[in-house]
């Protein structure tokens, strides 16, 4: 039908070629030489003023990495990555101690402006440095009263600034870059880093352990409910640079924290590598809610360029009655390889995974979750919504397992896929394994197409085509959108709308 060709043309035009955050910025950068070796790792560690135990940890991971092979089981295809052709460290050069906006590299300010970050926030982000941040925080407090989101901004390899530290500190919450945490809170980092995702975990996690450059660190002490949403903003700017961030979130007994990460990258012909590790630890009665809105550059209309997003995210419900909830909205990246998981170790602990994965153009998504039931009376819930358009391939891969001692484990899984057009594919690969006869696992899966019937019906009420599609798709993903913090639900809804404008065939 002619409508199909028209649709494909429009998807190409709207989604892929007009990636909104595809600008790049000419900022003076401080870079390590290309490639990977023990010397590079020493360089990174030295740049960050790290203690020797950290360097040893990295080197051990690196030596292990050298013995590993790249995994090939995911349903994604890409040319072999040349790890010697990547810069593993790049940081914006900062003049020592800027005291006002005029001292900050104007290009950096422009970046934040383009990203739609309010001026006040830019001022803080752009970093009249942390040395003087307390004063700024007071000034900006009023501005933030409504939003109440503390931000950590990571530009390529380093955290540029973290806002709201003072107010958070009053509540006992530590929110800073992981580099700072290694220097300032070594006892916490030593205790928890690598305790959920060990350095030996998998190829990319091991690589990350060797070369991670920055990321966020959150510690919420016993009984504290974090007074605001925490958010980290990741931006990959520099050419041929890998971003290897490491995030560690710890919620002590009875603590609660809600955390959001957002990501963008410039439009480039070369592929960029992003291999992050996120570790969450929830002790007794603690709850961590982790939300992601990922909008890395997906590549151009022919599938050239774009981010390789190879990420290991895992939460450990270490304490009884603890709860970890992952919510993700994935719209970008050329290739996504990502399975935010929960280890349900504590008795009566619960894990949740809510996901929307949108793929368009030539994107390849292989994403899902693992729910590992170890404790008694543990429960997990998986709601996955995959939307495939263009020539993309969208795979849900999930594992639910119950250990032989995990009595009364319960899982509910629901995977729905929506196809737009007839050149894309959706795949569902669930693994289920119960070694305890009291386990109750439920799995539901559907695959559907936005039908001409539905679109015609909605348009017949006077709703133009693009709004009609957005309405149907937003209805499809509603269960997941509801899980996002209010402020980001609207953003996510818009992002999905933009990604799929005019894409019904």
């Amino acid at each position: 039908m002619p409508a199909v060709q028209d649709t494909i043309d429009r998807v190409r035009k709207i989604d892929v070629d007009q990636y909104k955050y595809g600008f790049q910025t000419e900022i003076a950068m401080d870079k390590a030489p290309k490639g990977l070796s023990e010397d590079i790792i020493r360089f990174i560690s030295a740049k960050k003023d790290e203690p020797s135990w950290m360097l040893e940890w990295r080197l051990e991971a690196y030596r292990r990495w050298l013995t590993l092979d790249e995994p090939t089981w995911a349903r994604v295809h890409y040319p072999k990555i040349d790890f010697q052709d990547i810069y593993f460290y790049a940081a914006p050069k900062s003049t020592p101690g800027p005291t006002s906006l005029s001292d900050v590299d104007p290009e950096l300010l422009k970046v934040y402006e383009k990203l739609g970050i309010p001026l006040r926030e830019q001022e803080i982000l752009a970093g009249v440095q942390k040395t003087d941040a307390s004063e700024l925080e007071e000034v900006s407090d009023n501005v933030y009263k409504s939003g109440r989101v503390a931000v950590d901004a990571v530009f390529d390899s380093v955290s540029v600034v973290t806002t709201f530290k003072k107010e958070l500190a009053q509540a006992g919450v530590i929110f800073c870059s992981i580099s700072e945490a290694i220097r300032e809170h070594p006892e916490l980092v030593k205790k928890y880093l690598g305790s959920v995702v060990p350095t030996s975990d998998n190829y990319y996690a091991t690589l990350n352990s060797a070369v991670f450059t920055d990321g966020s660190f959150v510690f919420v002490p016993k009984g504290v409910r974090c007074p605001m949403e925490l958010s980290t903003y990741f931006r990959m700017n520099e050419k041929n640079t890998g971003q290897f961030e490491r995030t560690l979130i710890i919620a002590e007994e009875g603590a609660y924290v809600s955390y959001l990460e957002g990501c963008t990258a410039p439009q480039r012909d070369e592929n960029q590598l992003h291999a992050a590790v996120v570790e969450l630890v929830a002790l007794d009665d603690a709850e961590i809610k982790y939300s992601t809105v990922q909008n890395w550059y997906p590549g151009d209309a022919e599938g050239k360029g774009g981010i390789y997003n190879f990420v290991t995210k895992r939460g450990d419900c270490r304490g009884d009655r603890s709860k970890i909830s992952w919510t993700q909205v994935e719209t970008g990246s050329a290739i996504t390889w990502k399975y935010p998981s929960c280890i349900l170790r504590g008795d009566d602990s619960s894990g949740e995974f809510y996901s929307i994965a949108v793929s368009n153009g030539y994107q390849q998504v292989d994403s899902g979750t693992k729910m590992i039931h170890l404790g008694k009376n543990t429960s997990s819930r998986i709601i996955s919504k995959g939307i495939a358009a263009g020539f993309s391939q969208n795979t849900y891969r999930g594992q639910v397992s119950a250990h032989r001692k995990a009595t009364n484990a319960r899982n509910f899984t629901n995977c729905d896929s929506l196809l737009i057009g007839d050149q894309c594919g959706a795949h569902t690969v669930p693994y289920m394994e119960a070694k305890n006869s009291t386990a109750q696992f439920e799995h539901e899966a559907t695959t559907s197409k936005i039908s001409e019937d539905q679109k015609f019906y909605v348009m017949q009420r006077g709703i133009p085509e693009e709004e009609a599609i957005a309405l149907i798709v937003n209805g499809f993903v509603k269960d997941v959108i509801q899980q996002l913090p209010m402020e980001f639900a609207v953003e996510a809804q818009k992002l999905i709308g933009i990604s799929l404008e005019g894409s019904v065939g």
């Binding site: 015609f456 017949q460 009420r461 937003n474």
Partner: protein
Amino acid sequence: MLEIRNLHARIVDDGTEIIRGLNLTVKAGEVAAIMGPNGSGKSTLSYILAGREDYEVTEGDILYNGQSILEMDPAERATSGIFLAFQYPMEIPGVATMEFLKVAMNEQRKARGEEPLKIPEFLKRVKEAAASLSMDMAMLKRPLNVGFSGGEKKRAEILQMKLLEPKLCVLDETDSGLDIDALKIVSDGVNALRAPDRAFLVITHYQRLLEHIVPDSVHVLYRGQVIKSGDKSLALDLEANGYAGVIGEAA
């Protein structure tokens, strides 16, 4: 208001011609009934009027208020005042009926250059319309048509028609799947909308619906053509004697 001239149309996918030289005129204020045996092209006609892309007009024209609508997409036709009450309304999962009504009403207002409705005014209109159709407001919080019974779906169609205030209402087998009480409610809803500046095209198999919605004219469709037109007595005649006689006359 509506003038269909020598209309020929076929299915895009396989080229099958369904409408073969159809002529029909409906004046403002008129209720025209379209009757005919299965496969005569009744539902296809309603889809073509609403602008469905699966059909291609190969000859002839459709004039609405003197203007050809063939180049308009379904949303443009809807905002110009053409409404189709579907025989099988589609389910829209995750979209609350209320939300859908709001989007539809405001999109139509936007197309006419009007401001979106304020929430209290919107709610007032919906409440009134729902009450007149004996619809429960709780139902409007559910996703549109999802899990609705046959009768609920048809009522929801008439509710949308009431709220969107179209000028040309096409009802495709609105009586199918309705019990007698629901039929009465739906017919009353339609009759309440009869107005000098509004026309209806009522597509039905049976005379039964026409006892409740009394037509000004009745047209028999067979093999993609109107083979006979008359007043409401024609419907009674068909009920008594079947289509065979009329088809025989035309052949």
